[in-house]
């Protein structure tokens, strides 16, 4: 493995209006194809970290380097393109546009990226393939997203994050709305498909029961030195 996929270096970020940084002196490296578990309670700066990796906010100092490219050097539009091209995102809930059906929601994942559209080939077919792979019953594929159960919605969200084989899938508490049984099945399928797509996985959760299945486990509190003495 030549170069790490993602390198965060001495990252520091303060939300406008806040007294102190929510993230400070954070270092993290993710290699290609790795499954990384990042443990952290809510309020520990998880969402901020994901926004930094997604290029939605820029750090006060430090750097986010993705495949050797420092995001700081990119314009806002270029960062949006980078996100569309290289990242798939799954949140805890509210992942889907409620008025689109499952297939259309999955296709949204490559809507804004030519690269991922090209990789997906026939986007419609690919969306159906991923929905099947994530275990969504076929009779749900053309249902509106808001007619699906929470578990089904998360499967659709995972399929969307994976379509067009992004380099990195960011998963922010994707299982906390699921019960234990569904949670394990979901993570299993997510692993399988991420591996097939060749995507690295950054899985952020407070649920440390899941941690043992990952290649690497980090505690966000250890990485993030916000609030620590300088």
């Amino acid at each position: 493995m030549s170069e790490p996929l993602l390198v965060l270096e001495l990252l520091r970020f303060t939300w406008p209006g806040d007294a102190g940084p929510v993230i400070d002196r954070l270092d993290l490296t993710i290699d290609r194809g790795r499954r990384v578990f990042l443990a952290g309670a809510s309020g520990s700066g998880k969402s901020t970290l994901l926004a930094l990796i997604g290029g939605l906010v820029t750090p006060d100092s430090g750097s986010v380097r993705f495949a050797g490219q420092d995001l700081k050097t990119l314009s806002g539009a270029a960062r949006d393109r980078f996100r569309a091209d290289h990242l798939g995102v799954i949140f805890q809930q509210f992942n889907l546009l409620p008025w689109l059906d499952a297939v259309a929601n999955v296709r949204l994942g490559c809507q804004f990226s030519r690269l991922r559209r090209d990789r997906a080939g026939n986007a419609d077919q690919q969306a159906r393939y991923l929905l099947a792979a994530m275990g969504l019953p076929e009779d749900r594929w053309n249902r509106r997203a808001d007619a699906l159960s929470v578990g089904q919605q998360q499967r659709v969200a995972a399929a969307r994050a994976l379509i067009g084989r992004p380099d990195l899938v960011l998963a922010d508490e994707p299982t906390s709305a699921l019960d234990a049984e569904r949670r394990d099945g979901f993570v299993e399928l997510l692993f399988e498909q991420a591996e097939q797509a060749g995507s690295s996985l950054l899985f952020v959760s407070h649920d440390r029961q899941l941690a043992e299945r990952f290649d690497e486990v980090h505690e966000l509190d250890d990485l993030n030195r916000a609030g620590d003495p300088p």
């Binding site: 994901l50 949140f91 546009l97 409620p98 259309a104 804004f112």
Partner: protein, 421 residues
């Protein structure tokens, strides 16, 4: 799926609210287009009726009143014109033709005009078009009547039918000239002018049926029976008429003759150029038109503000959707563009539905206008500059949506991929 596809899905998701917004815009556009169209059509319709006449002469009154009473049967002439004055004026060498008219009678709400055969020979409408008979021909006998197209259609008259004329204008005539029935000699082809709403009888007949009615009621024994009237036709030359139309050999002579008529020494007379009288009428109605226009414009504004309200109220519920799109790599301008696109689609539909409404309203109104004013209004597409106005409204709709679009733009930048509470 494109941005347009997303806009369509989002609109379809809010069908009811979108339909209401489109309806609001459609009604406002319909009103605006209708006001403009009717204005143009009415003017054209009025102009059509007088465009072949060079001068209208009657007793002194307001020029507009003379025009309205003589041509359109609206209101009554103030006084009459002496027959002798008529003879004098039409003797002028610049006069090509003349049509005397006597008003005051009606039949089933349609006005009865006493005139001469010159009416069918010389009257011109819509530029140079002469009257044509659809059935039969001009009146010859004293008690024959020619009916306009609309009269014939609504009352079912054909040549040979017998008609009893009422006295006085209006729909309800208490007194009928029922001892002097007329026979229909001909039916005129439709003209889209008040001619369609009129019945024409000979001047002498008009005079004859009023002998004995000088006090407004028949005096028993004094009225003429038809055969008596026919026998004394020479004596039935009227000594007064209501007004007369003049056609001149050259249009340029109109001003000179008008000047002379207005200074006619034996009797106070008024000659008007119909085009100029119409201009005066439009000046009077212009204020009302302007007010209607302003009202229509304000209604359009209200429609667009309604759309703005509808868009703004969706912003909170859509905040999450915007964040999802952001997470999928949508740029802020694409998300703002989604709102502009939705506004563009809604305004466009509003304009299209509004045009349909306006045309339907014209279709619905035209029979009423034809019946009551003899003005033919045919639904037409807006003129070129109306399209420009509609395009400007469409643009305004998109511009209005800039407000929520900018709000969304700023919000998506602040929210990032997840809605921050």
């Amino acid at each position: 799926m494109t941005l347009l596809g997303l806009a369509r899905g989002s609109l379809a998701n809010r069908r009811a609210a979108v339909a209401l917004t489109v309806a609001t815009i459609a009604i406002s556009i319909g009103l605006l287009v209708l006001v403009e169209q009717m204005r143009g059509q009415l003017r054209e319709g009025f102009y059509r009726s007088v465009s072949g006449t060079d001068l209208i002469v009657g007793a002194p009154t307001a020029p507009v009143q003379l025009l309205l009473s003589s041509v359109f049967g609206l209101g009554n002439p103030a006084r009459n014109v002496a027959w002798q004055s008529y003879r004098d004026i039409v003797a002028d060498p610049v006069v090509a033709w003349s049509i005397p008219i006597s008003l005051g009678d009606s039949h089933q709400g349609y006005r009865v005009v006493g005139t001469t055969a010159a009416m069918f020979e010389h009257y011109r409408y819509a530029g140079r078009q002469a009257l044509e008979f659809r059935h039969g021909g001009p009146f010859e006998d004293l008690f024959e009547v020619v009916v306009g197209a609309q009269v014939a259609r609504s009352l079912g008259y054909a040549p040979g039918d017998r008609v009893v004329l009422g006295h006085g204008g209006g729909n309800v005539s208490l007194h009928q000239h029922d001892d002097q029935a007329f026979e229909v000699s001909g039916v005129l082809a439709p003209t889209g002018t008040p001619v369609d709403q009129s019945l024409y009888i000979r001047l002498a007949a008009h005079h004859a049926i009023h002998i004995g009615w000088e006090r407004g009621l028949p005096r028993p024994g004094d009225t003429l029976l038809p055969d008596q009237a026919r026998a004394s036709i020479e004596r039935l030359q009227p000594d007064q008429i209501s007004a007369f139309f003049l056609g001149l050999k050259t249009r340029a002579a109109a001003f000179g003759l008008q000047y002379e008529i207005n200074r006619y020494p034996n009797e106070a007379l008024l000659a008007v150029l119909p085009g100029i009288a119409l201009q005066e009428l439009w000046r009077i109605t212009g204020l009302a038109e302007r007010i209607l226009r302003i009202v229509a414009g304000l209604v359009v504004l209200a429609g667009l503000l309604g759309m703005l309200t509808a868009l703004l109220t969706t912003l909170n519920e859509r905040r999450r959707e915007m964040a999802i799109l952001r997470a999928c790599g949508a740029r802020p301008w694409q998300i703002a563009g989604l709102l502009l696109l939705e506004a563009a689609v809604m305004t466009l539909f509003g304009i299209i539905v509004g045009l349909v409404l306006a045309v339907s309203a014209q279709l619905a109104l035209s029979p009423w206008l034809l019946d009551n004013f003899g003005i033919a209004v045919s639904p037409a597409w807006p003129e070129a500059w109306h399209w420009l106005v509609l395009a400007a409204i469409w643009l305004a709709g998109v511009l209005v949506a800039l407000v929520p679009a900018l709000m969304v733009y700023r919000r998506t930048l602040a929210d990032g991929m997840q809605v921050r509470q």
